[in-house]
Chain length 342, copies 2
């Protein structure tokens, strides 16, 4: 193109992009030659020049090759929704990718960077993206030496300790845990926090671990936990469906919640406000996380000197409902009623 | 590469892809030459060969160049969530794109096809995609001659007529409408259904139209509608925030809902179960729509002889709450109480 117009490559670029200080005649000449040749700078060339495609990725890698439509879970759906809003608001498209696919999706899109949810400790997707020089922001602090540009997470240890203390204060003597079998930091840190707490208070750990992306496995694990001879009198479940699964298992064993069994689970679902009884939930604030990861990623892509730290910890919220509150003995003085009734 | 190895292009392709009936020695030779040259078939070349990238697009075009983070609205968020699940379940990545962007996002990704939400009647994005030979499935039946591969929609005329009849049966004498200024079929069909209904029952139309992506414009339009000398005694609002905006405007004018003003709005938000009073809403079933559009799109991409019709109409649901039910006069016999209380 430059040869055909008899000018330099820079002149072609400036003329077609309306940049630089070129005589009008030169600019016109280059445009005419470009029209004659049907020349259009390719998207790939433009991406190479600016180094930006305007596309950022989002994926969940911790379950590897397992089929996992993660948006079925409230946490991921809310997180992805906030991430999409944040991306669109800054003029980026968000590409939600399966970790693996029969299509070569990762090669077919020029991502400027990627958000990875819950990477496992040897995550091959993260390693490959970093090898390609792309910014990676993880939802979940990276385990081991996994190299990421930035991460956003909750303080899972503090959250679990808070829940265990809450259950103990409600009268629990033996607290059980429903946890996962994967190596992402959410599962890992929550489980070790539980084990440390047990050691500190002198309770034998009572837990069941299952592959968290399989909803049937969760129902089975909940049942198994309540069938044990050392049955817990309180349970914390790490995953969204644990509350309903534990309620169903409790009914099968004739256990009343909260009288015989106290329950808390980590969930973003509003379902638990309406279960019988309503279940206490821990919210990880996925909307704040989804917004934060995308802001950090785009800041890294654009090389903005960010005010945000590259490690961001988002507070959790324990929403206390009936399932984790032992009814007070009858002799207890009633708490004051709120103006709107009990 | 073929020249360097002294074989045909087909032999290179077969050798590197483990296909065809090649002698092991030939296969090994080609691979050694490929390694020596650092040859890797490009993603673009592979996409050309298979004709598939495994990436499908999703965008909202009706607001054109206006910045519009559409996932802020419950309808779009739920629709996008279902679309993401359906795409991931079939091994595709979903690319959520802004209609326009300072980045050339559309050129930087090899989409196999695109879902377009609410295309306007002369939609340039749809026209360009169809020109490129890509399947386009629209959420919303296409207006005019807009060429799409398939569409999914509700029967908006029937839904609006049902709501107007519901309000008239509750005692409304003059029903107003809050509508939009865009030319997508949702806005267009809903508005014409209202105008036809008014003509049929002999009521003067009372409506305000505003740009629906601007939340402040909605609050202003709600206020204007209730400030009119021919103030309606019932309003149907086409967009998600209309219910809360109309409740706020009613309070400013001292109007009690439902006694002085009956309200219905189209919304997927659970907020309206908890407003004072709870507001009757029309649900368009965005999850069913999001799933259907992606199934139709992937069927078209894969050339599957589909059982699905290429025009799919999803039923709507009117969720009747206090805001559209006139309290019965005091002399009326009380309805039976449910076992769980009123």
């Amino acid at each position: 193109m430059a040869a055909a117009a008899g000018v330099s490559i820079t002149t072609v670029s400036d003329a077609l992009n309306g940049k630089g200080r070129l005589p009008d005649a030169t600019r016109r000449h280059v445009r005419e030659v470009a029209d004659r040749l049907g020349y259009r700078p390719s998207a790939a060339a433009r991406t190479l020049r600016t180094g930006k495609s305007g596309l950022i990725g989002l994926t969940v890698t911790t379950y590897g090759d397992e089929p996992f439509t993660f948006t079925e879970f409230a946490y991921f759906a809310e997180m992805a929704r906030a991430a999409t809003s944040a991306a669109l608001a800054r003029g980026y498209a968000l590409v939600i990718l399966p970790a693996t696919s029969r299509h070569d999706v990762w090669s077919n899109v020029a991502l400027d960077g990627t958000v990875v949810i819950d990477p496992s400790d040897q995550d091959p997707v993260v390693s490959e993206l970093v090898r390609q020089g792309l910014p990676v922001v993880s939802d979940g602090r990276p385990a081991g030496s996994l190299p990421v540009t930035a991460w956003v997470d909750n303080d899972h240890e503090a959250a679990v300790l808070g829940i265990l203390d809450h259950l103990a204060a409600a009268g629990a003597r033996r607290i059980g845990l429903l946890t996962g079998t994967t190596t992402d930091t959410y599962t890992h840190l929550s489980t070790t926090a539980y084990l440390h707490w047990c050691e500190r208070v002198g309770q034998d750990p009572v837990y069941e671990a299952y592959p968290a992306h399989d909803p049937c496995a969760g129902a089975v694990a909940a049942d198994r936990l309540l069938a044990r001879p050392d049955r817990p009198d309180a349970v914390y479940g790490l995953f969204d469906p644990n509350g309903t699964d534990l309620l169903a298992a409790a009914r099968r064993y004739g256990l009343r919640v909260p009288d015989d069994l106290l329950l808390v689970c980590c969930s973003e679902s509003t379902v638990y406000a309406g279960t019988e009884p309503p279940v206490t939930t821990l919210s990880l604030k996925p909307r704040r996380i989804g917004t934060a990861v995308v802001q950090l990623l785009i800041d890294a892509i654009e090389g903005v000197d960010s005010d945000h730290p590259v490690e961001q910890v988002i507070p959790t919220e324990l929403i206390v409902r009936t399932s984790s509150q032992r009814r007070p003995p009858r002799t207890t003085v009633s708490p004051p009623r709120s103006p709107k009734g009990s």
